[in-house]
Symmetry: C2
Subunit: 197 residues, 2 copies
């Protein structure tokens, strides 16, 4: 086994730990918290059958690659709950260090490629990354709907905060925005979400 | 929400159940069995940094799509352990029925696309599907190496059977075959695998 291959396998083995990183939200049968590997899979499959809602010019392969690796830094930095203001204070710093170490396991050309994908996802400026970030939000929406409010109820998150978080979808996947609004109205109606706006 | 979108969301919500389908093999920290959603994610990421070992002409996006959905039928048909001869007797029948129902949730054009991808993966005749099937085998190899033999030891699988199962890699990803042989020799040396050939 040459050095290049050994590095790729060490990276692959390290990735396995993403299966132990728990997110706050529950899987849809409500039995337990979802882990970040499962979430990354679900989002990536969504990019197979929701591409028609992407803005013109979005590159499916590029989006999928970003989504497959977007949470890998959590192996070192752990998942930061999206409504955790304190956790967000040093989130960027923790995740940069994690990206250095984890992508650094790969051969140099592949480090650069993976890091560029992750940086792009995080910066959320390009058409592709804005769509990818939108699917990230969108997956959670349906998970919370299927678990009677899920994290919204468990952590008392009011509608205004959810709308703020979901706002990414209005920007990155505007064709999905009317559905988001419809779902949030339904969530309020069903008592899954407190209407404060 | 129009009918097309409602069908896509029902499909997406149904996919969530793949997170509850347990495979026989353990995640690499040995703490529990892996589920099929995690496995599908891991395989799909592998297609990002192991493409250089694919035969010339393999289409990365096509491979990724196949890998992302290759186990979805297990939601109804459950995972069949690859060395379970009895389970394999009706595996095809169970999985065909599952594919009919699960892909059937999607709008017709998308059913056809997903079903064609799954049929292609299962038939394992095209260059892309032979490579995708090879990565499916390859992921398990490293999982068993990292868990002191994993399913090989738990279920007393001898080297000849593992070689038979891994043979797919010799066909679909011949550049990876020398590493497979090297790993299996090491597995025998470490006492993870019984040498019967």
């Amino acid at each position: 086994m040459d050095e290049r291959f050994a590095r790729q396998i060490e990276f692959s083995n390290t990735l396995d730990s993403l299966k132990t990183i728990l997110r706050r939200n529950l899987i849809m049968d409500g039995s337990r918290r979802e882990n970040s590997a499962e979430h990354s899979w679900h989002m990536s499959v969504m990019a197979m059958f929701l591409m028609e809602y992407a803005p013109d010019g979005v590159d499916q392969l590029h989006v999928m690659k970003m989504m497959l690796i977007h949470d890998v830094v959590e192996i070192d930095a752990d998942d930061t709950f999206c409504y955790d203001t304190k956790g967000y204070e040093d989130k960027a710093e923790r995740e940069q260090a994690a990206a250095d170490r984890i992508f650094g396991l790969l051969p140099e050309d592949q480090q650069r490629e993976m890091r560029a994908l992750w940086d792009e996802f995080e910066a959320c400026e390009t058409l592709d990354s804005r769509f990818a970030n939108s699917l990230d939000r969108f997956q959670v929406l349906f998970q919370n709907m299927q678990t009677q409010g899920g994290t919204w109820r468990i952590y008392d998150i009011p509608k205004s905060k959810v709308l703020g978080r979901m706002g990414q979808i209005q920007d990155g996947a505007p064709r999905l925005w009317p559905v988001v609004l419809e779902m949030l109205d339904e969530a309020v109606e069903q008592g899954f979400l407190v209407a404060d706006c």
